[in-house]
Symmetry: C2
């Protein structure tokens, strides 16, 4: 039997202190559980790079209704979640209820957006079709060539960096212990996860272990084979520009399009930061900013909003999204008793943070899986074909052009 | 009469410790003069951003023979200058005798390069015409569309940052006093420059004052009107990429072209850094890196060397070149006795550093203007039309496309 370091046991050990792990920790602590987060740098991870667009409606695609429901549920919680978090942490989150305009640059794009619009209407979602002229009236900086667009009033934004900092502070204030060390081994005894060994050598016992280590979740030594599907890293490069006072408002809402098959979005923050994202590259655990990534983002953004050329380029960065085999998150108990997953959020980590915190805390406190989480069971890959949560095979995940492709 | 701070007098006070000021200081000190350099951060300035291409031949244009002679003289001194500097400072300068390949991307470019080649031959300069295939044999990463080029064996490179650091060290070792403060006023008494007031309040007396403050030279308070022509700031944005070991040698020599009317050059350093420059923007004292500047450099470099997209983008930066009214440097005594100019080097500051140091030290030590410096007298603007040193009116300075335009 494992001997835990003297006194070092807790109800819940969260492995990985990105925004997902922190939200789970904060919410679990609010349920009265003792919670420890193990992470060398809590608040880091993909949120440091994310644009923070909250876009369940504009990112919708066929075959994804459970994920849509999850995203919508999280989106609906966002205003209250950030208000509570700002109160609890004393820090701003940059939540901005600005809406999103998805535009088409050519007639093919327009056709696809029209199909998405029809799909929205069938699902009873609120989106409005605009002509190119109407788009430019909303956002005068848009290229003259914009052919039409969808205005989604409820797709908003948050600042991933501020969100992470607020979660760190809220956790600390709530009594979550942030253990600034890496979990280097999952401890398993009697067919059950019992804690983790930390890089400090400490052995930390826990009633339940939450694996929230993003694209490194399945790599935790000690994790028995087959318990967690691989979570692959999907690199995203992103740019941060600054809108000088004289140019404001440059954009008033999130603006997105599909340019040359790539998702492009411009997310204007209230403080004048303008985030342009993002590439999507599958080449392992590499976070290098490349000339090509920056070039493509600037080229495509320039096509969509030519005036960006005047803006200062402040930062270029790259992060890794955690992608599960079906690109939907892994939420809830695994086949290994005592081990719970909260990872695989792919492009939706920021959006899904509130609902993930709520659902996982519910499970950790009660032992019952909430219905909203059920389609995202980590065990869904064990039994043959992907479950309903899955993205259709062969479809580019969350690609605006997917409806047509998925139907083809 | 000005009262100098007790004991604070020197033979030569150099205002501005960029590479030009430091080279003058070092060389003057070697002549036995007492030298003080006033600069809050010696070794800073445009050299921190410069690509460091030493290209008097590939940058040649009609009407510029005196500047060509000056550039050639400096280029010829570079190997010995950097060897001596490395010895004196104990630091590397990154001097690399690699040659330069100027290529044409279309038939117009080719025609202009052919004219430049003919001009080289008339002047007895060493350059070789290559077909597109021969260019790609030298540099296999070049775009398939390259139509031909000029190989100039004697146009090399140096690392501006290393050069600056070596000059700082050499000055210190040689006994130049680096006064880390700003000169805030030129002191003038009896119709003669007598020193400067520093930001510390100190009054520093000097037998001769060298103005080497780049694009801020003419702004020094106390400078009588008409003594120095305006030196305008010409912004250059530049990128630094890194060539991973596995990709080396990516380029083996400087590669340049004119793309959409802009000079583009790729300067591969021996340590794997690849510098891509540079924009040329006249908009005051602004060193903001813009989305548009970075975009254009990446777009044009990608057209010339498509494989750059794979390389990490490490740094973006912007600096200010000091441009005189005719874009040729201001070297030697001014109309104000005791005040000597060493500024206005525009795009040629790194190239002209050795010769400027030599010529100015000669003048400071002997009071005689060396013949090579004569065409660059700061007084040349006082007497009507620009002198022989000038770039033809209406020509883009140092533009490879200039021969045709200047003749038109």
């Amino acid at each position: 039997m494992t001997r835990f370091t003297s006194g070092a046991t807790t109800d819940v050990l969260v492995v990985g202190g990105g925004i997902i792990g922190l939200a789970v920790a904060w919410r679990a602590r609010q349920r009265g559980l003792g919670v420890v987060v193990a992470d060398p740098a809590p608040g880091g991870g993909a949120a440091q790079v994310a644009a923070g667009m909250l876009a369940p409606v504009t990112e919708l695609q066929y075959g994804e209704e459970p994920l849509l429901r999850l995203g919508m549920a999280s989106n609906e919680r966002y205003a209250a979640f950030t208000a509570e978090l700002e109160e609890a942490s004393g820090l701003p989150t940059g939540y901005r209820a600005c809406g999103t305009l998805a535009v088409a640059l050519d007639s093919d794009d327009r056709e696809e957006l029209r199909e998405l619009h029809a799909f929205h209407r069938r699902l009873g979602l609120d989106s409005a079709w605009l002509t190119g002229r109407e788009c430019r009236k909303l956002e005068p900086m848009l290229a003259p060539g914009v052919r039409g667009g969808l205005h989604v009033a409820d797709d908003h934004q948050v600042d991933g960096r501020r969100l992470a900092a607020a979660l760190v502070a809220a956790c600390e204030r709530a009594g979550v212990l942030l253990h600034r060390a890496e979990a280097v081994e999952l401890l398993v005894a009697g067919g059950r996860a019992t804690g983790a060994r930390l890089s400090t050598g400490e052995l930390l016992g826990a009633g339940q272990v939450v694996l929230a280590a993003g694209p490194r979740s399945h790599l935790l030594p000690g994790l028995p084979e087959g318990v967690l599907p691989p979570v692959r890293p999907v690199k995203g490069q992103i740019l941060r520009l600054r809108v000088p006072e004289a140019y404001r408002p440059f954009l008033s809402r999130n603006v997105r399009a599909v340019v040359r098959g790539q998702h492009l979005y411009l997310v204007p923050r209230e403080d004048g930061e303008l985030v342009i994202g993002a590439t999507s590259e599958e080449q392992g655990y590499d976070t290098t900013v490349t000339a090509g990534g920056v070039y493509e983002l600037l080229r495509d953004a320039h096509e969509l909003v030519p005036g960006i050329t005047e803006l200062p380029l402040v930062e270029t960065s790259a992060g890794l999204r955690p992608g599960s085999p079906d690109n939907a998150p892994l939420l809830g108990p695994t086949a290994l008793p005592g081990l719970v997953a909260a990872t695989g959020h792919y492009r939706n980590g920021v959006l899904l943070t509130p609902v993930t915190g709520d659902l996982l805390a519910e499970y950790l406190a009660t032992g019952a899986t909430p219905p909203l989480a059920a389609p995202f069971s980590p065990g869904r890959f064990a039994a043959g074909p992907p479950a309903a949560a899955a993205v259709p095979a062969g479809a580019a995940p969350s690609d605006l052009s997917t409806p047509a492709k998925a139907l083809a």
